[in-house]
Subunit: 271 residues, 2 copies
Amino acid sequence: MNIGLFQFAPRRGRPDENAALLEDALRASSVDLLIAPELATTGYLFLDRGELADVAEEVPGGPTAARLARACRETGRAIFFGIAERAGDRLYNAAALLTADGACVIYRKAHLFDTETLVFDRAGASTSFASIAGTNIGLMICYDWRFPEVARLLALGGADLLAHPSNLVHPHCQDAMITRALENRVFAATVNRFGSESVGGVTVQFSGRSQVVSPLGERLVTMGPEEEGVRVTAIDPALARDKQVTPRNHVLEDRRVDLWGALLNDHRSAG
Amino acid sequence: MNIGLFQFAPRRGRPDENAALLEDALRASSVDLLIAPELATTGYLFLDRGELADVAEEVPGGPTAARLARACRETGRAIFFGIAERAGDRLYNAAALLTADGACVIYRKAHLFDTETLVFDRAGASTSFASIAGTNIGLMICYDWRFPEVARLLALGGADLLAHPSNLVHPHCQDAMITRALENRVFAATVNRFGSESVGGVTVQFSGRSQVVSPLGERLVTMGPEEEGVRVTAIDPALARDKQVTPRNHVLEDRRVDLWGALLNDHRSAG
């Protein structure tokens, strides 16, 4: 399948402008799936929960999802983009995958980072799998990278590709996603924003460098720290379904779950 | 504490010579703990199980452990080194941690790599924790790196430092250990051998580049691909006990074990 990475700098607090940028990128790109950054519709920083609530949208009922769902139908393409989701009185840091046949899958970020915990609600279980053009997609968002269990569960569930919208500020994730790819033998597409935001005396600088990593740990695409636009690459899911590191080592079957009983213990009880 | 990395090229099939090299390195180094490569007493390749059995030793009853235990007592130092262990009719790819006060902890490699599966027995549960000079040590061997669950369990059990004797042939582990350090906020000391071995038409080239990584993902020591000798560095376990990535993010407490029920599923049932 062809995946596109749309690296850009969302306009803070302007969902309509950002939806237009997402739609333009989708219509202009020959892809099966376009992946955009975390919180692509709203920007990242919010003065308070009220400001977040003003720009959050229902998914798929809200205007951005409606607009992009139509573009997906008309182009035969899919898009996966970060969005501030309103669900009743709840507000989630989420990402929506919209397909050409009208499906909408919503993943809600499991691990909130820093001040996100002040404005977003903690997510419960949400859907983190989809299938596009014969490729199984596992969904995760930004800081989820730091928890190897997230990518592992996606790989165990059959994901060929980790789709990973991000708003990264620290330098380590892009290298760590090579480890995620290797330890699970999957493709990993991290789509990060660039630029900066300043709100209430806080300034955050984002790091760009969106990338696609192969199941063998090779970088297939590396974007620049301030590069704007779409980069397209073809990936073959068969490569992610070959889990043999050697003829005698299958990276998932070799797991010694018989020795790992404490893995789901609470930190304090395990320590 | 001061840890030493002893990178060398073990002499294949000559446990006495290798034990002398280990003893010399221990006596010459001002360390609390000296870490040596995987299978430091025997070399890596074995023509068959019979050849392995000829050089395997009981631990701590065998001659290498006895010799090094005496050196530990006399120097007040500890050593952790890879050894081919005989236990009854079983043969394990193991590593022994010997301390100045006479303790012996044996870790048996949980994940055997490639042709190791042809000559070594599969390990059951073994001890993988020790404490030296107030620092909690988590024990793992070489290919265990590829399974994030191994380092995670050691961190959950309180390890400040991952002690990681290796015989690496592939290029990815050293970078991946930065990820292991970051995702658990622990120190990680990978001690790899260098040189090559040829047995029965098979040649294996080892990659050196032993290293120590900090809980913040910085390389504190990086040895060359063919460098021989001991490199010493001081580590402060307090840094590994600060698990706050941000004031609002504790890298172990943030784990969403409530969402991870499938993590211990067998690969085939989960897929």
